[in-house]
């Protein structure tokens, strides 16, 4: 992939993570800055989680709750819809992204609404809602500061919690100078934030409908819960008369008290805050307004039916696996070429489009930090590993790699052949002129020396050791 996916929502077909990552790494200062910024969030997360007694037990509880909910998702969805409707909300079900977009557009169209404010929702990113609506004459304004920044740059978010983390404040200053008329060269975050606030206030006042994502939906009460740090979801859902809340089917929790588990984990894992600044519960529309809840499947029931990848459906989109991932920190979100980047995105992306995202499960050293950081205990690095297997099964591993592994497998089956191959390599490599040994073919040797080539193998050393003693 050569450029970030465009705002029209069209991702380039085949993502080459390694190549995109190499370009990111080439700007050493920026890559290190990105790494440091996210590591700082990871450290905040560590401190926040350390302040909670029984953090690990809390993770167990969350994982258990999710597993339980997913095991009877149909029942809980029914219960949720019944209760939400009883409170006066309209519940719409969408099978896929196209249906979701059509439903949202339908609601707006029927009411002649052309100005929509949106608070952060990864689901609408997944469905490419913005370009869909804009093509139909609706002005869509993302109201989360980071989201607004990337929207003005015609880029998708590069991180699910910190959508503009790939940008430095100077770059944002330039953008605001161009788009919002701030002074040239102004890059003080305070000044920029104030400019964005004024600009967004105008949009809030003009909006006829507000769209939000959903962090949790409660089956027992029919309510939806939205967590933001900027209060923009609250502005967007209280100023206009119409509130549309979009959620994936996996957002359900059975009871209101289950929230206690997830809300404690979410903010701490995401940003290291003890709790998100604004956590708003919507139970039915406001007195003179309308609340529409759009519940989307878009491939989730397929994921649910798969015993290996089912657990990844528990994801609460905290972004902790991205912040901890040593590869994400150094390759940036765009290198993944998928709406959700990082470890979890490398599982969800291939599920959507295995061929297009076949490099993602390999964009990991399988260090396992993601699995240990995940508040709902998704076995991320094992699922990445399982995806690799799956890609081979589907014939999607590049033939060179496949051939290399076949050859290695064949050699290693026979101890004599393995010894012979080892002998040849250990004699051949040191004999090669440096230019050949470190030729283009040798990706190891571009920045690293090859290991030493000893004269004797362990077997030989062991034999003489044994004979001596």
């Amino acid at each position: 992939m050569s450029a970030p996916p465009s705002a029209t929502g069209e991702l380039e077909r085949t993502v080459d993570h390694a190549a995109a990552a190499a370009r990111f790494v080439a700007d050493d200062a920026k890559a290190h800055w990105h790494d440091q910024a996210l590591w700082w969030v990871r450290k905040k997360r560590d401190a926040a989680s350390a302040a909670v007694p029984d953090w690990e037990a809390l993770r167990d509880a969350a994982a258990g709750l999710k597993a339980h909910t997913l095991s009877r998702l149909g029942d809980y969805l029914d219960e949720f819809a019944r209760n939400a409707e009883a409170r006066g909300a309209h519940v719409h079900f969408a099978r896929d992204a196209a249906e979701h977009n059509a439903i949202v557009h339908g609601i707006l169209q029927e009411r002649g609404i052309t100005r929509l404010v949106k608070s952060k929702s990864m689901l609408t990113e997944e469905c490419h809602l913005n370009p869909y609506l804009e093509a139909r004459g609706v002005t869509v304004t993302d109201t989360d500061l980071g989201e607004r920044i990337v929207q003005l740059r015609h880029e998708p978010p590069s991180h699910i919690v910190l959508p503009a983390i790939h940008l430095k404040k100077e770059e944002i200053g330039e953008l605001f100078h161009r788009e919002l008329g701030t002074a040239e060269g102004a890059s003080d975050p305070k000044v920029l934030t104030e400019a964005a606030r004024q600009h967004l206030r105008q949009r809030f006042l003009e909006a006829e409908a507000g769209l939000t994502g959903v962090n949790f939906a409660i089956a027992e009460t029919g309510g939806v819960v939205v967590c933001t740090n900027e209060g923009n979801a609250d502005m967007g859902s209280t100023l206009p008369r119409v509130h549309i809340a979009c959620m994936g089917v996996e957002k359900l929790v059975p009871r209101r008290e289950d929230l206690a588990v997830f809300l404690r984990l979410l903010a701490r894992s995401a940003t290291g805050q003890p709790v998100t600044t604004y956590t708003t519960h919507f139970h039915g529309p406001r007195p003179d307004g309308e609340l529409h809840i759009v519940v989307v499947d878009n491939g989730r029931s397929r994921q649910l039916a798969d015993p290996v990848f089912r657990r990844s459906l528990s994801c609460i989109r905290c972004g902790a696996c991205m912040n901890t991932c040593p590869v994400f920190r150094r390759s940036g979100g765009y290198s993944y070429g998928y709406i959700v980047p990082g470890p979890i995105g490398s599982i969800l992306g291939p599920a959507r489009d295995p061929a297009g995202h076949r490099t993602l499960p390999f964009a990991s050293s399988l260090c396992g930090s993601c699995s240990d950081v995940c508040p709902v205990r998704i076995d991320l690095h094992h699922e990445l590993w399982a995806w690799r297997k799956e890609l081979v099964k589907r014939g999607l591993l590049p033939w060179r790699k496949r051939a290399a592994m076949k050859l290695a497998g064949a050699v290693l089956r026979f101890a004599w052949l393995y010894r012979l191959a080892g002998w040849v390599a250990r004699r051949l490599v040191p004999a090669l002129p440096r230019r050949l040994a470190y030729g283009r073919w040798n990706a190891w040797g571009r920045q690293r020396e090859l290991p030493p080539m000893p004269r004797q193998t362990f077997r030989q050393l062991y034999r003489s050791h044994r004979d001596r003693s």
Binding site: A22, V25, F362, W385, L412, R426, A443, E449, P451
Partner: protein, 250 residues
């Protein structure tokens, strides 16, 4: 006398034979009889990690055949032991002897601490040492508590090192960040892999380490490749070699 089957990963057999020999000497010094089944080759991890399960299967079967007779199997490698313990089920579940093999295949330090119930090491190693916690040792074998988890802190490798006279363990800013080796990841994602390695080394350097040690020679091979290319003032030493030298000096 306790007899163990010695499992020497392919790249140690071929490229770092001294690490294998140091393992033998450390074990023997603690009264363990070592047997090395010569027909062994590789645990199958490179194929398995690339998704090529069918290429790994015969190697898992071979492993079971060669090692099932031993009370314990010991290897100087966290990631190869993890392969046996965490990934062989798919090939060998239900086969005679597998359950025992899985439970009794140990990484060297783990074996010293959990089975031999050391440390009571007599040894001296008067150097500043940085411990590179290889990811598979840390997060798959749980040789240490890991910085992500909120559990009572423990670290089996550190426990052993702290027994050695004169050894000064340096404090890293990122205790257990991955070095970027990751098997075929090291070549597939060469750019990120090397950046990770350099960052890892910089952390050790800033902390004042002279020597970087760890339980996985593969991580150290990658770091050493960078050290030698960039002539950095560091040296890598597998923990088996370090223990061997320390004990020999005592």
């Amino acid at each position: 006398m306790l007899t163990v089957g010695l499992f020497i990963p392919c790249y140690i057999e071929q490229l770092y034979p001294e690490v294998g020999l140091a393992t033998v000497r450390v074990l023997e010094r603690h009264g363990v009889r070592v047997e090395y089944p010569e027909d062994q080759t590789c645990c199958g991890q490179p194929m398995s990690n690339t998704g090529c399960t069918e290429e790994a299967r015969p190697l898992a079967e071979k492993f079971l055949r060669l090692f099932r007779g031993y009370e314990h199997v010991v290897a100087p490698s966290g990631s190869c032991v993890s392969m046996v313990r965490n990934h062989y089920d798919g090939f060998l579940a239900g086969q005679p002897g597998f359950d025992h093999l899985k439970r009794s295949t140990w990484e060297l330090c783990e074996f010293l601490v959990d089975v031999l119930k050391l440390p009571r090491l007599e040894g001296a190693f008067p150097h500043k040492v940085g411990l590179h916690q290889s990811c598979h040792g840390l997060r798959e074998l749980r040789l240490g508590s890991g910085s992500e988890r909120r559990v009572a802190p423990f670290n089996k490798v550190q426990l052993l090192l702290s027994e050695l006279r004169g050894l000064q363990l340096v404090e890293l800013a990122r205790q257990d960040e991955c070095c970027g080796f990751g098997g075929t990841f090291a070549v597939q994602e060469e750019a990120v892999s090397c950046m990770m390695g350099r960052d890892r080394l910089a952390d050790h350097e800033r902390a004042g380490a002279e020597i970087v040690t760890g339980v996985d020679m593969s991580c150290l091979m990658h770091l050493d490749g960078l050290i030698r290319r960039e002539r950095r003032p560091l040296q890598v030493l597998h923990v088996a070699q370090l223990l061997d030298r320390a004990e020999a000096a005592a």
